[in-house]
């Protein structure tokens, strides 16, 4: 029953995808209405105007270009012409670094807030004010103080991934079932051992949910951050190709951003499943 449901869902997905490609193909085909213009002007305007071809690339153009990229993902012809693999690699490295720093800060701090009502109350106003600030708003300040565009981008990633992890960790830690804490207390388990043997496993699913939200936000933000700071990365690639008016490359980049985001999410989802315990 379930396998047949999956099978049917897969068929519907494929049909929808094919329909999407079909509509895309038809709507970007040449329209045939050619404007009447002098040859010089036509040369200036390019094929878009002269042959009635849509400015929007069709699926076949994108597919061909994508194949080209996939054949050589790691070439490097100077600052403005790097393979997509290299650009994605830069972005993933930045996200990874900023995210890793956020984990190091947010999880211990979340434990502190979750375990100590004093710190929970004392830090609450700061968190309430800092949390809603758009990570990109930090960018000028980061650029000014750090003076390195690449590190600034990492800082922005750090700032945006810290909050969901911090809040989920402190919530998960504070919500550990009283009876489990009591078990540890009756066994005279010390605070540190209790934190690692009872609170951490009990709160792990909540903490990982926060980490999963964070990685999603970090991946959203890196594209915008790289558009601002420029130089390398998939966000810069999108912006650069837009300046080159290469819509094909922009579409390919969008597709890849989506796929990488999905993979990052899946990795965290797998970790979440690993620490989730049935009750």
């Amino acid at each position: 029953m379930t396998s047949s449901l999956r099978f049917r869902a897969a068929i519907v997905s494929i049909v929808l995808f094919a329909a999407f490609l079909g509509i895309w193909h038809i709507s970007t085909r040449g329209t045939g209405t050619v404007a009447n213009m002098t040859p010089e002007y036509a040369k200036l305007m390019g094929l878009t105007a002269t042959a009635g071809k849509s400015a929007m690339p069709g699926p076949l153009d994108v597919g061909a270009k994508l194949w080209e990229h996939l054949k050589s993902p790691f070439y490097d012809n100077g600052p403005n012409d790097k393979g997509l693999g290299i650009q994605l690699g830069y972005s993933i490295a930045r996200v990874g670094l900023g995210y890793f720093l956020a984990v190091i800060v947010a999880i211990p701090l979340g434990f502190l807030i979750g375990m100590s009502p004093l710190f929970s109350k004392a830090l609450d106003p700061f968190i309430q004010v800092l949390k809603p600030i758009s990570p990109l708003a930090w960018m000028p300040l980061a650029l000014y103080t750090i003076k390195d565009s690449s590190i600034s981008a990492i800082f922005v990633i750090f700032i945006c991934s810290v909050w969901p992890m911090l809040l989920n960790t402190s919530f998960g830690v504070a919500a550990v079932r009283k009876e489990w804490i009591n078990v540890a207390r009756t066994l005279e388990v010390g605070t540190v051992r209790r934190a690692f043997t009872v609170i951490l496993p009990a709160a792990a699913p909540t903490i990982l949910t926060g980490m999963r939200i964070s990685i999603g936000i970090a991946w959203l933000v890196i594209v915008a951050a790289e558009m601002l700071v420029g130089g390398t990365g998939i966000g810069y690639f999108v912006w650069n190709e837009w300046n080159n008016l290469s819509i094909t490359n922009v579409i390919i980049a969008i597709l890849l951003i989506g796929i990488v985001g999905m993979l990052l999410d899946q990795i965290l989802a797998r970790f979440t499943r690993m620490v989730t315990f049935p009750e």
Binding site: V183, T186, L187, V198, P278
Partner: protein
């Protein structure tokens, strides 16, 4: 004979009330037990039984008074006092063996892995869970979970076992088996046990002393019922004993009517000298104040 292994001395527990005042669960409660005794507390829901047990365990603190165990006022929890929780409270991310081993390593920090495992296994076997060591709590039935809780409590070889309605969630058959097991273990190891129950027959089968509590708020320990049945009583033929019905009726009467009216009708109740009652063939009589009992327990039947 006169040693008070556990002595609860004038404890009170109050919670802040809604209108800024204080709600008192109980005031000035005195209770003592000798080494190796099995005590059961019976009382209606909300009268404060769990509160007493948590204070004994060190999980909760009395607003007033003290608890003295083995000559020392208790401060917080201790590995000498094991708790079997009503909701079994197993750690769901650990296996059966993992849950028991956790307790073992907490008591004996420097034991190596093999020694811990062997010790834990011994207690898993004791409660009849051989073969289920590597199952997680979610894969166990309610009775099996409760057994793991018992194994965990016993594995640290405590001096006192504190049990909060350990069998109330179980079916009659499983409950009977576990009662047998707990009784056997307590008799064999000379455990001092303190148990909360709602089941009168359970109390009659297991307890040497049954503590009757009146309804809350402001509950009091109304009387202590001494179990007149022989030590070697069996669960199956409990009701054949001549004293059984007197005992049972006495407790049920208390639960049905006297627990409600006690505060209004008994005015000269002394919480430090709670009457000890030993229901017999005829009408139950108050046999002695605690001090007299301690000096000559034999005379209690004669009266």
């Amino acid at each position: 004979m006169t040693d008070k292994f556990i002595s609860i001395e004038g404890i009170a527990r109050r919670y802040p009330g809604a209108d800024g005042g204080q709600i008192s669960v109980f005031e000035d409660l005195w209770l003592s037990m000798s080494r190796g005794e099995f005590g059961c507390v019976i009382g209606h829901s909300g009268c404060g039984k769990t509160t007493v047990l948590n204070i004994l365990a060190g999980l909760d603190e009395p607003s007033e008074g003290a608890v003295i165990v083995d000559g020392q006022a208790i401060e917080g929890t201790s590995l000498d006092r094991a708790v079997i929780f009503q909701s079994h409270a197993l750690l769901p991310w650990r296996t059966v063996l993992g849950n028991v081993s956790y307790a073992v390593t907490s008591k004996w920090r420097n034991w190596d892995r093999a020694k811990v495992k062997a010790h834990a296994q011994k207690f898993i076997d004791l409660v009849g869970l051989t073969g289920s060591e590597h199952k997680r709590p979610s894969e166990l039935s309610g009775g099996m979970k409760q057994r793991v809780g018992i194994a965990r409590a016993l594995s640290i070889t405590p001096k006192i076992m504190l049990m909060d309605e350990p069998f109330s969630a179980l079916d009659a058959l499983t409950r009977g088996t576990l009662q047998d097991e707990v009784r056997r273990i307590c008799l064999e190891t000379g455990q001092t046990a303190f148990m909360i129950t709602h089941d009168v027959d359970e109390a009659i089968y297991l307890a040497d002393k049954i503590f009757l509590m009146t309804n809350g708020p402001g509950a009091v320990l109304a009387e202590i019922v001494e179990n007149p049945l022989p030590k070697d009583r069996g669960r199956i033929d409990l009701h054949r004993h001549p004293y059984y019905y007197a005992l049972r009726n006495h407790i049920v009467d208390f639960l049905v009517s006297r627990s409600k009216t006690f505060a209004a009708t008994v005015t000269n109740h002394d919480p430090r000298n709670v009457p000890i009652v030993r229901p017999g063939l005829s009408e139950p009589t108050i046999v002695a104040s605690p001090k007299m009992i301690e000096t000559s327990p034999a005379q209690t039947i004669a009266r």
